[in-house]
Symmetry: none
Subunit: 247 residues, 2 copies
DNA sequence: CGTTCCTCTCAGGATCCTCTGAACCGCCTG
DNA sequence: CAGGCGGTTCAGAGGATCCTGAGAGGAACG
């Protein structure tokens, strides 16, 4: 259904006809919907947003998304009822549920299957993006695992296996370190500000200071760049950038 | 009728013409149907779903499935009657019955001859998937048992024989341990969350906490990894992953 | 109907991760 | 040259996460 096209290290998701994959975001909090819509759009999806179940089903029947990001708690309809109707419209759709941490979590269980996944609120945009990419990729590449790894120079990042290698050597990263590096890899050769990093990598309810970013950059350097030609560069007053060595 | 194609350790079911095997899921509970459809689809089947006998027979005559997963208790028609009509349409279709625990169990036992099987509710998705794979594989490979074993490094898992070996040595596992390992093997090199594991390996009505998963991972480690290079790895805050030793 | 085995709950303890605070460094500017 | 600013790094508290032993309850089996 979908194939992965390589292009200078980053894998780009494409449908068989060459068009970008389509996503639909459904959440009644406009702020969250907007953030997800623009994040997914920037990541190469063609996206629609909806604030309630009714318009979500409407949008799905016009737009035929490959992926639906769906808040379980909607004002008008139950999330599972929505899922069933969505499946009736387009059978092959993947669903990524958004749930509150403790309340609905257990109700999800027992219903979600291979084509579905879920993320608990509050989440980071990177988390949702990573899961979305994973779902869509797996839906299209059931028979092949080629193209999963992202490459920057001799740095390879496998989001499925949660694995990072530099020059073949496996590097152990914590969850936050991995999310940060993943963000840098997806934005390689582009300077990203500390504010952007905070927005994308940390949970949206995180109230802390940009100092954490500096700290985790420092951690990453120790693990990724240790004793090697550095790939993580500081652009003073602007942010950070990940570049392949020597260019 | 069907052959097994190997690809880097995991076996993939294929029909003789190279197309994926076709399945039809019939259950009047939409949640169960959706979950099974999605799970089978991600396992490589081409799947249709139906909520009642009438549309099931309709779908079967259009879709010509190799496998039908059939709830015995349907609103409009008896499951056995459905089976009879399905067999009229396509003679050598495999049927996997879904039955309530106590009600019809013994009647099924008599009925289920000649390659058919049944699973009692509440079931785990892994259980249904394993039986489905088994039925379809046996229907296509009556004379040969090649390709049954799944391999990850020196770990070999035979779903038919319910047998696990590491480095040739036979390892005794309980039913739950086997189901968990089977799930990990089918998702080798991919990190799976505790929530995903609960969804797939435990019965869908299981109300317990994700803590059980940790417990069974611990059991598995003692049996699989004992005194050897570990294959089961914890990814803190994310889940677990099964990897062949040193790669 | 008794025995055995399996499954799950509970709780203690160990480990690891994350973030705060503060010291330090170097560059730029006044 | 002094001071300020941005960035880096260290050390440690607190918390989250995970592991494992002990044991109760129940299912399966003879």
């Amino acid at each position: 259904m979908l194939v992965v096209m390589r292009e200078s290290g980053t894998a780009k998701l494409r449908r068989p006809d060459g068009t970008p994959p389509r996503a639909l975001v459904v959440d009644d909090e406009a702020g969250i919907t907007d953030a997800l819509v623009s994040a997914l759009r920037f990541d190469g999806f063609e996206v629609r947003g909806a604030l309630d179940a009714r318009s979500a089903i409407q949008a799905a029947s016009e737009h035929h998304p490959d992926l639906v990001i769906l808040d379980v708690m909607l004002p008008d309809l139950d999330g599972f009822e929505v899922l069933h109707r969505l499946r009736a419209v387009s059978a092959h759709v993947c669903v990524l549920f958004l749930t509150a941490r403790d309340s609905v979590e257990d109700r999800i269980r027992g219903i979600s299957a291979g084509g579905d996944d879920y993320v608990t609120k509050p989440f980071s945009l990177q988390e949702v993006l990573a899961r979305s990419r994973g779902l869509v990729r797996r839906a299209g590449l059931a028979q092949s695992r080629v193209g999963v790894g992202l490459r920057v120079g001799d740095l390879v990042l496998d989001e499925d296996a949660h694995e990072v290698r530099r020059g073949g050597e496996l590097i152990e990263l914590t969850a936050t370190e991995f999310a940060l590096l993943s963000y840098l890899v997806h934005n390689q050769r582009r300077v990203v500000s500390k504010a952007q990093i905070l927005d994308q990598v940390w949970n949206y309810d995180f109230g802390g200071q940009a100092h954490v970013v500096e700290l985790y950059i420092s951690y990453l350097r120790k693990k990724i760049d240790a004793g090697r030609a550095p790939m993580i560069h500081t652009v003073r007053g602007v942010g950070y950038v990940l570049r392949p060595v020597e260019s």
